[in-house]
């Protein structure tokens, strides 16, 4: 500005951003859009591929029938579907109480050395490859029991779920407003009742979301089941016996040199994805129905 006209206020021109800036804006925006689209792309491809390859062999028999011996057409994976449900339920039965308990403890009381150690351990555990977790469960359960079992598979899946549940629970419990705790304490609630009746319910949506994520991840794990639950071509609900599961079936069937089995492997994968989606939908809907949430 020239000093000759110091006080003349400069009128802002009603013109838009410069061409240069608009070009940048458009460029960066489309780059972001592309990145976002790339995130969706793999999932879209997976689902499309699974539908294309898995739908043809999907029928009621797949859900209700047992696998047929090689060469015989048809048959299903009833035992593997039920097996996966049981294994995931076993894992959840182990990981949810321990994980939620530990997460709440970390959030509410977790100061000091021991708490830092627990956090660190959970973080490390989250990064341990799942096949290593399988080896651990093998050493912990299979070796002492002397055989492969559903229980060992459940323990392996439980260990896999644990870190996600612990750390997410800690985070969501921390997000519960202080004012809720104050209200409960001012009414004469002891601290443990405040946690149990106010803090945990208020954090339940987040805890369920974390649990669903952990379950979904565990449901698709193959490696840790290979030397724990092993697999089973027959119908078995016994927890101390080897148990069939979808991922292991998919693994076996996909590698097999029989076209029939390969097709069923695709269907198995489709069913697995459907199962996980269904599970998370059911949990979320149940949660939304809980009283007090609007």
């Amino acid at each position: 500005m020239s000093p000759a006209q110091p006080s003349a206020p400069q009128r802002l021109q009603p013109r838009g951003p410069s061409w240069n800036r608009r070009a940048w804006n458009a460029g960066v925006l489309s780059a972001c859009w592309l990145a976002a689209a790339t995130v969706v792309l793999p999932l879209a491809l997976i689902v499309w591929h699974l539908l294309a390859k898995g739908l043809p062999a999907m029928n009621l028999a797949f859900f209700l029938h047992m696998p047929k011996p090689v060469g015989e057409p048809g048959g299903g994976m009833a035992n593997a579907i039920v097996g996966t449900l049981i294994l995931v339920a076993l894992g959840a039965a182990i990981a949810v109480p321990i994980g939620v308990g530990a997460g709440v403890w970390l959030s509410e009381y977790g100061r000091g050395r021991f708490a830092s150690m627990v956090r660190y351990t959970a973080d490390v555990l989250a990064g341990v490859p799942s096949i290593v977790v399988g080896v651990v469960a093998y050493g912990l359960v299979v070796v002492p029991m002397g055989r492969f079992s559903a229980l060992a598979g459940g323990v392996a899946l439980g260990i896999l779920m644990l870190p996600t549940i612990v750390r997410s629970t800690e985070e969501v419990v921390r997000l519960v407003p202080r004012s809720y705790r104050e209200a409960a304490l001012a009414l004469g609630a002891p601290r443990w009742r405040t946690i149990q009746q106010v803090v945990i319910p208020a954090a339940s949506a987040g805890i369920v979301t974390a649990t669903v994520l952990a379950l979904a991840r565990a449901a698709g794990e193959t490696a840790p089941l290979l030397f724990t639950a092993l697999g089973n071509r027959f119908w078995s609900l016994q927890l101390d016996q080897p148990m069939a599961s979808l991922p292991v079936f998919i693994f076996d069937y996909a590698r097999a040199p029989y076209e029939d089995w390969n097709r069923q492997a695709w269907t198995g994968a489709l069913v697995l994805i459907m199962l996980v989606t269904l599970l998370s939908a059911v949990l979320r809907i149940t949660l939304r129905r809980l009283p007090g949430r609007s």
């Binding site: 209200a183 001012a186 009414l187 004469g188 443990w192 009742r193 009746q197 007090g292």
Partner: protein
């Protein structure tokens, strides 16, 4: 699994090294504090006021937030605490039911007595104490539960499980909080769906349900619109019949409208406590006069 908070136990009254020597105190009534706010000593046998503090001090770490506060709150009255922001009104209120215990680094010295109970005595059960003192906060803070469950919360804490009795007491409390007619047909709905004013009355109902001896209110209307504020003020006037109320407010008109007695605080000290009419028309202290005439604050 009784996980009583350890922090609550660790900040019981203790002398402060290097400060004015803590006087040994034997029972209530025997006090010799001076100043305009000095409460009258009680003749032996006379009924002690519902709430009494004597030479009460509180520190947040090294910051002293309350200095030698002595006051009395008689039964069935409304006492307003006024003063500029940051003068320690909330801190004082939260000292009555030991809500400050939740803040790390808080230390206290001096005496607070509620219904004859020495609040900071090592033998005092904080949970029991808080059941006898209701509290309403500045921001309405209903639980994310149904309206019914909010009011029933304290009753269930007391072990009341009988559905009919619960329903009767919930209705009673909601009526006392002047909320019943607005919520009677949606008790099962979430409390969070209510308006701000309704939420605050729900919080009052929740506090009243367990029939506290004292009701503490920290600027209960400051987050509300004028209509909702007027309803809360009406309610306070009603509740006085049955409860002893201490209400913090930054609004002098509000103090004048609803309170019987008013306490004026300034930087941690109680400057003056008197009949509301007297305090606003003929303040004894120059500082009080300056404040109520708007010369500062």
């Amino acid at each position: 699994m009784t996980l009583e908070t350890p922090s609550i136990r660790t900040i019981l009254p203790e002398g402060r090294r290097g400060e004015t020597a803590p006087e040994a105190r034997a029972g209530a009534g025997a006090t010799t504090s001076a100043g305009a706010a000095a409460p009258a000593a009680h003749a032996p046998g006379a009924v002690e006021p519902r709430l009494v503090t004597r030479d009460f001090n509180l520190w947040y770490g090294t910051h002293q937030a309350l200095k030698q506060v002595s006051l009395e709150v008689p039964d069935h009255s409304v006492t307003a605490i006024i003063g500029p922001s940051g003068c320690g009104k909330s801190t004082l209120l939260r000292s009555f039911n030991r809500m400050n215990d939740l803040i790390p680094g808080v230390r206290v010295r001096g005496s607070v007595r509620v219904s004859g109970l020495e609040v900071y005595a090592p033998s005092t059960d904080v949970v029991e104490l808080r059941r006898r003192i209701g509290m309403v906060f500045q921001r309405p803070n209903p639980f994310p539960k149904s309206i019914f469950d909010n009011v029933a919360f304290g009753l269930r804490l007391l072990g009341l499980g009988n559905r009919t009795e619960l329903e009767a007491r919930v209705e009673d409390s909601l009526r006392h909080a002047a909320l019943w007619d607005e919520v009677r047909d949606r008790l099962g709905k979430s409390a969070l769906a209510l308006s701000g004013g309704q939420q605050q009355r729900l919080c009052i109902a929740r506090a009243l349900a367990v029939e506290p001896e004292v009701l503490l209110m920290d600027e209960p209307a400051s987050a509300l619109d004028p209509t909702a504020t007027a309803r809360i003020e009406e309610l306070v006037l009603d509740l006085k019949e049955r409860y002893t109320i201490v209400m913090v407010t930054h609004n002098m008109q509000q103090a004048a409208r609803v309170s019987d007695r008013t306490a004026f605080m300034l930087v941690g000290e109680l400057i003056e406590l008197g009949e509301t009419r007297q305090l606003f028309t003929r303040p004894r202290q120059k500082l009080t006069e300056d404040y109520i005439t708007g010369r500062f604050g």
